[in-house]
């Protein structure tokens, strides 16, 4: 356990010394400031909009912009997770950084776990801060609050932690560049599949919905993200709820209740494959 903490702490110290935290902090403040400006102007102009009968404009705008912020949070969290993990095995081995560590009496799976924990210790608080920050901006500016507060945030954080695990697994088999490209392509494919699921739900296309559900199980970070979007408007009904479900950030489509359980099992599977692959890799 002390080895895990030592290596995780080493990863955190690297992030600190390499000014990762400073850069992320400045850019996040920039993102939240722009988001606040956008939300402020949206709600300021809301009085000039005559919404259709039965549509609560304040809820519609709030849920849509907060859904957009959640997408942004997932994307930024993913960027952070991927860049912190994409070269952990092959990349570091090619640069000669890994060998001195692996020779020490620590297990290779311990090293993987520690590097994942180090990345998660950066990404999860980051996702939490951006999620809560954007929720406060929408809530305090537009007086709209999500139907569920905690679960969507936890799901977003879990989605990013899962991406970090995928990137770590990729780092066992692929060079840093190939791994980064692969993870971002999978990430993009997942988002497209989720959007197709939403469109399929709106058009009542069972085929599209089924395809998206399969994608959500194949890459469950997407399922978690869609579930998080669904959670923020789960109690919103009527025409407002229906219209939100049609939008890209309305969470009309979900992978179902088992996606959370599957995400945990999927993580265990990724960890097992990564540990096995790493144990057999010549360095």
């Amino acid at each position: 356990m002390s080895s895990v903490l030592t290596i995780a702490g080493y990863g955190l110290r690297e992030a600190l010394r390499r000014k990762v935290f400073g850069v992320v902090l400045i850019l996040t403040v920039g993102f939240l400031t722009l988001f606040w400006l956008g939300v402020h102007f949206l709600y300021s102009n809301l009085g000039n909009v005559g919404p259709p009968v039965g549509v609560d404009a304040r809820t519609f705008v709030g849920a849509t912009v907060f859904g957009l912020a959640m997408f942004g949070t997932l994307f930024l969290g993913t960027v952070l997770a991927v860049f912190l993990t994409l070269g952990v095995v092959r990349g570091d081995a090619e640069r000669g950084l890994l060998q001195p560590l692996v020779v020490r009496p620590i297990g290779r799976s311990t090293l993987l776990l520690a590097r994942w924990l180090g990345a998660v210790a950066v990404c999860v608080p980051y996702v939490g801060i951006v999620y809560v920050g954007s929720m406060l901006i929408v809530g305090l500016t537009g007086h709209w609050w999500p139907d569920h507060v905690v679960t969507p945030g936890v799901e977003l954080a879990a989605a990013v932690a899962l991406v970090a695990a995928m990137s770590l697994l990729g780092s066992v088999f692929l060079s840093s560049t190939a791994n980064g490209i692969a993870v971002f392509m999978v990430f993009g494919a997942g988002l497209v599949a989720g959007l197709l699921g939403t469109i399929g739900h709106g058009l009542n296309s069972h085929g599209l919905e089924r395809a998206a559900k399969v994608a959500a199980y194949l890459i469950p970070f997407e399922g978690l993200y869609q579930d998080a979007l669904r959670e923020i408007v789960s109690r919103t009904t009527g025409l407002t709820g229906f219209l939100l479900e049609l939008g890209p950030f309305g969470g009309g489509y979900t992978g179902g209740p088992w996606v959370r359980v599957w995400a945990a099992a999927y993580f265990a599977l990724l960890a097992a494959v990564a540990a096995y692959g790493f144990s057999r890799r010549d360095l």
């Binding site: 002390s2 080895s3 030592t6 290596i7 080493y10 110290r13 690297e14 010394r17 390499r18 640069r95 000669g96 950084l97 060998q99 001195p100 560590l101 692996v102 020779v103 020490r104 009496p105 620590i106 297990g107 057999r280 010549d282 360095l283």
Partner: protein
């Protein structure tokens, strides 16, 4: 018990046979030099011993423990040929990290001793990225010594060092031998190996082609005697033949000015063993 015992060690990378059944032993407190041209299998052998590479066949044991096992890795220090420490860390932080991972209880006193040993006492707080290549290499040697392991595996430890740095490392190796630490040293520098090693093993195409002490490997090449009629070479003669040869020449009326016993250097032996392969 041998500090390192390698038996029939083989490693194949696809169609390439990096090691083809090597037997080698490093006894307690012994300094063994491993020579061979590039691609001979030296680094592969060292990597198998420290658990970075899995062998295709054969066994390697460190102090009786299976090489690569966690217990065996506790007993060794390793300096890779191509290694790097994180540039953002100071020399002291690098050693502290390795102390923690190795489970060393030496604390700051051990770090100070090691940094002094490799001549980096003044660079304790200097970041690795601000160190020269030679300084990083000496830090690598200090890192390998963390926790006082009984076996040290050094892969080209002087490749980036200037002559003064090489002499420092040579002195360090002699000091380690004095402490009873066993060392397996990979190097291209024959003179270095000849000066410090108790035994030398030469690898070629993944096989051990010759092994012995530098003195054993330095074969006699004959005796050269300078007389009033010029210099004469007696091929095949050794030191013990000199009195007889001089006596015979004097009896034949020759004046003797000098007699020299010629021995081949380790370089000659090496070149003979590898057949002119580039290293």
């Amino acid at each position: 018990m041998a500090a390192l015992a390698v038996r029939g060690l083989a490693k194949r990378y696809g169609a390439v046979e990096a090691l083809a059944g090597v037997d080698i032993e490093v006894r307690e407190g012994e300094l063994v030099g491993l020579l061979g041209p590039n691609g001979a299998g030296k680094s592969t052998l060292v990597k198998i011993v420290c658990g970075l590479v899995r062998p295709s066949a054969g066994t390697a044991e460190i102090c009786g423990l299976r090489a690569g096992s966690r217990e065996a890795r506790r007993s060794l220090g390793y300096l890779a040929e191509l290694f790097r420490f994180p540039g953002w860390a100071s020399g002291d932080e690098v050693l502290e990290l390795h102390q923690r991972l190795a489970g060393s209880q030496g604390g700051a006193a051990e770090r100070t001793e090691l940094l002094e040993l490799v001549g980096l006492a003044d660079a304790r707080d200097r970041r690795v990225e601000e160190m020269s290549k030679g300084m990083q290499q000496r830090l690598g040697i200090a890192q390998a010594l963390v926790g006082s392991p009984p076996l040290l595996l050094l892969d080209e430890p002087t490749s980036a060092l200037d002559p003064v740095g090489r002499r420092t490392v040579r002195g360090l190796l002699e000091e380690l031998r004095g402490r009873g630490i066993s060392v397996l040293l990979n190097s291209h520098l024959l003179s270095e190996i000849e000066l410090v090693c108790d035994r030398v093993a030469i690898l070629l195409h993944g096989k051990l082609v010759t092994e012995g002490s530098p003195a054993e490997l330095a074969k006699p090449r004959g005796v050269e005697i300078e007389t009033d009629e010029g210099t004469r070479l007696f091929e095949g003669a050794g030191r013990e033949d000199v009195p007889r040869l001089v006596e015979e020449l004097v009896a034949a009326g020759r004046k003797i000015y000098e007699a020299r016993v010629l021995t081949s250097t380790l370089e000659d032996t090496y070149l003979e063993a590898v057949g002119g392969e580039s290293s």
